[in-house]
């Protein structure tokens, strides 16, 4: 079959489309799309509502978009706000605005500079949070880096976990190879400002269980911490520690029982 050149759609003002296959889809006003959409490029500067699934190479949301189905995309940038009722499958995701995803998120690189909330599980090679992320399920990634705020209701499982505490971070369980939790020393203007408004929040990590090979923890509250080499820094409150090779505890840390296994 001869493949015809794909067309573009551009909706400026208010318009509707039944979906289909396109090269470029651009929404500058308000758009309602009733079916599935396949395109190379999706760009929304206004508001868009898509009732079906979308498959695209790039998606850039500068306004607000609601996807009722699944989103499959190579590169997605969210500068405005996005709601996805289905799953999100992407290679690179950048959230600079706010987004809420009801399904799972699967990706290679996930950068959150704004705020993201995920009802399902997150799996990726790299998760980098400099804003806020909330995950109802598990988060599995090779590297998890947080300079912001996170709340994970399930398991945070990563090769390297590097957390610089800002406000209250939380995960039910944390497991990995190298886990570092530190409180930032430098108080930049922005952080001072944030602290001023969020004065009732202390910089702290809470988890039930933290397990890993090499752990360094500061200002961490946990029921159980298990690992090979463990270093407990200032501000920790841990009920029970099980270690294999070595254990170092800062004077100001509160530790219940400790056992070498």
């Amino acid at each position: 079959m001869e493949r015809t050149q794909l067309k573009n759609i551009s909706i400026s003002g208010s318009g509707t489309s039944s979906g289909g296959e396109y090269n470029q889809v651009k929404v500058n006003g308000s758009a309602h799309i009733y079916g599935d959409l396949t395109c190379e490029e999706f760009k929304c500067n206004g508001s868009a509502h898509l009732e079906g699934n979308i498959t695209t190479d790039t998606a850039k949301i500068n306004g607000s978009t609601h996807f009722e189905g699944d989103v499959k995309v190579k590169e997605m940038t969210i500068n405005g706000s996005t709601d996805i009722d289905g799953h999100l499958l992407c290679e690179e995701l950048k959230v600079q605005g706010s987004s809420s995803i009801k399904g799972d998120v699967k990706g290679k690189e996930i950068h959150v500079r704004g705020s993201a909330s995920v009802q399902g599980n997150v799996s990726s090679d790299e998760v980098d949070v400099k804003g806020q992320i909330k995950i109802k399920g598990d988060c599995e990634t090779e590297s998890f880096e947080a300079r912001g705020n996170f709340k994970i209701d399930g398991l945070l499982n990563a090769g390297t976990i590097d957390v610089e505490l800002l406000r209250h971070c939380e995960a039910k369980e944390i497991g990995g190879e190298n886990i570092t939790v530190k409180k930032t020393g430098d108080a930049s203007g922005l952080k001072k400002l944030i602290k001023f408004f969020m004065s009732n929040h202390t910089d702290q990590l809470t988890a039930e269980v933290i397990e890993g090979d090499n752990l360094y923890l500061e200002h961490t509250h946990a029921e159980v911490v298990r690992g090979n080499t463990i270093e407990i820094g200032p501000g920790c409150d841990i009920k029970r520690i099980e270690y294999k090779t070595s254990l170092d505890i800062d004077q100001s840390a509160k530790v219940g029982t400790q056992e070498k296994i």
Binding site: E140, G159, G175, G176, E177, E208, E211, E223, R226, G227
Partner: protein, 206 residues
């Protein structure tokens, strides 16, 4: 109740670290449903089905030098690999015997190339014939059973059990884990976990 092992005991017995266990979980080398959460005096703990997990870890440890973690995950995954092999290839590589092939062809008509699921059927049949657990007629019954329940065989997590009572024999195909209570005269001749057969087969095919 199945024989369970706690995470702590598992690490010690298998001689692996937390990091390795979590890495393998991340890579889907260990199925999600093997992580069983239970309450203990130190709060929630994770337990595993002992035999399955120890066997799996043993396999990962012996194979991880030759295969990448992704390749391993592929091998352990319940979805079939996309392979189809010819009859000559199957016998040449010693995966199934001529007898099994001949029986398969008698039931399904002559086939030149086999899909992964067909190879799995052949593999199980071959293994049952080799051990002498089933005879030819029973083997044909097995082929028919697999044929009629293709969907169930595909979505593994199935177990195949072969029972004989006073010379009368039959197959049972049931979801995993199977718990069967047999009357005293009935004898369980063979018991296969299809997911394990699939792993063995994938290893042979790779």
């Amino acid at each position: 109740m199945e024989n369970l092992i706690s995470k702590k005991d598992l690490l010690e017995e298998a001689n692996i670290s937390y990091g390795q266990l979590y890495r393998w979980k991340r890579k889907n080398l260990i199925p999600e449903n093997w992580f069983i959460r239970k309450s203990t005096f130190t709060g929630q703990e994770t337990f595993f089905p002992k035999e399955d997990i120890l066997l799996r870890i043993e396999k990962i440890k012996t194979l991880k030098d030759d295969l990448s973690l992704d390749e391993l995950a592929d091998m352990f995954s319940p979805s079939p690999t996309l392979t189809s092999l010819s009859a000559e290839e199957l016998t040449k590589r010693n995966i199934v015997s001529n007898t099994a092939l001949e029986m398969f062809n008698n039931v399904h008509g002559p086939t030149k190339t086999f899909t992964f699921n067909q190879i799995l059927t052949l593999y199980v049949l071959n293994s049952l014939l080799q051990t002498g657990d089933v005879n030819r007629t029973e083997g044909i019954d097995l082929l028919k059973l697999f044929d009629e329940n293709e969907q169930n065989v595909k979505n593994t997590g199935s177990e195949l059990i072969f029972i004989r009572k006073m010379g009368v024999s039959f197959f049972v195909l049931t979801p995993e884990p199977a718990t069967l209570f047999l009357e005293p005269q009935a004898k369980k001749i063979a018991h296969y976990k299809l997911s394990q057969c699939m792993e063995e087969l994938k290893l042979k095919l790779s």
